[in-house]
Amino acid sequence: MSHISPVLWQFLTNWMKASPLFPPEASTIAPYADALYLFLVVITIIGLVLVGALVVGFSVRYRKERSPEATQIEGSTLLEATWTLIPLGLFLIAFIWGALLYFRIYNPPTNAMQVYVVGKQWMWKAEHPGGQHEINALHIPIGRPVQVTMISQDVFHSFSIPDFRVKREAIPGRYTTVWFEATQPGRYHIFCTQYCGTEHSGMIGWVTAMTPDAYAAWAAGSTSGASLAQNGERLFASLGCNACHSGDPAARGPNLAQVYDSRIRLQDGTTAVVDDAYLRDAILNPSQHVPAGYAPIMPTYQGQINEDGMIDLVEYIKTLHSNYRVQQTLNTTQLSSTQTNGAAPEAHAGVKP
């Protein structure tokens, strides 16, 4: 919006902030959304004024008292073309503008901070990689892009922060993401906007945007002690994943260190990028995600790990930069299994349906 005079722009934004017609612009996306909104509102007003003026004008000028005779007119191709093409042009501008905004909203910057959100009837559970768990609340620093990866444990929910102008549905069985960068400290509503059952209207919470310092203090003060990755590691070990994914070249499962964000070849010849969704799917539906060169022997973990556990595991694999820890855990489990006589095989048997 640099071409608009700064004074005018200032005036407009101040007016918008002061009036109840607009929610506060609290994220970097909000001004873009409001600009498009303003454009569309102007089109609407022009359209309405045009139609209104024509209808009222003609009604006055050609009312029966003044115009007792109607003049029959067949139509005009030129006029038809005009009012086909001009609206079409305007609508296409709205389309392109909207598409650009859409991709801005749904393409997170690569340096974004990660937060996980699980929607369930009827609450939002937010999980920070550092191990801070929140219910119906989300603390974020301002001035830093935050990417929210969400999933629903039951039905469709929709994660909406109107003051940030972002929204995305949390879907059962699949990760979706949205990102935003808060610009001003404050408290903003989180709504569930997709109807999700009895307490739908109770599924609301607060985003608290804080200065980076305040956020750091909050994060330090509210951690549960173990980061998501640490929880994931525990789960990794207790499910016996490390028995195959040990990082050994001869291991039965592929090496997971640095696998995140890499492109791997699959057994059926296709390639796939390992992202959150891929990891989740590969754990639940392993036979559809067999990397080239490995046997399809991995059992499914469907029904054994809840969505929070999945997030822990995904976060663990994401942060797995070397196999040092995996091998360490493996050694301890092997040790314990020899000691307690088959605890690990039992766990292994437990995952088979």
Binding site: L284, N285, P286, S287, Q288, P296, M298, P299, T300, Q302, K352, P353
Partner: protein
Amino acid sequence: MDSPAIATGNGEVLAEAHAHPAHLRHHFETVEQQRDAASFGMWLFLLTEVMFFGGMFMAYLVYRNWYHPAFVAGCNTLNIWLGTINTVVLICSSLTMAMAVYSAEMRRKKSLITYLILTIVLGIAFLGIKSVEYAEKFELHHVPGASFSIEQFVHPTNPKAVALAPDMAEKTQVYFSLYFAMTGMHALHMIIGITILLILVVRAFGGAYTDGHMTTIENFGLYWHFVDIIWIFLFPLLYLISRYR
């Protein structure tokens, strides 16, 4: 595309229309118009049927691509010979139905009744074979829902069958959901069709349809052939996916 009334609506034809040929309803001008309207209406109804089944074909297409191994495994539990026989039975019934329409056109009451009864018999045969197949599915716990079991797919007793990973084996339930939804809807259409056929036979005994007014039987023929067409697509989609394994 044009109204026949336009062609026939002048005075003299009107006078003729007032003579009211048998079976001409009061609001039609001519028998032709009435007949055309009826068959056009029937075709529009079949269009809605296409879209009705279309939703399920759509779902089939999506899941077949997602869960191809499960669909192959599910398909392999079906008896291809029963499927083929059923296809043959249904095509035969289509032929007898077509012949029934022809008999009505030729005003041959006896052959009309014979062909209609043949169609009923073939339709019931189809449903009989189908119920044998359904019963087998019940025994194998392949009916989706609480009793569904993936045991047969993870540890197949048939040595030729390929064992599926448990996660993929779960997806056979999607295949069987679609199998039962599609064949079930088709069977429902067959049952409705047979019920109507029974009524038609009774009325044919009373001399209906062979007196030149055969719109009903013609339109029912369209319905019956449509049900046949649905099966013509269901058969390869449900029975013949990668059969060679």
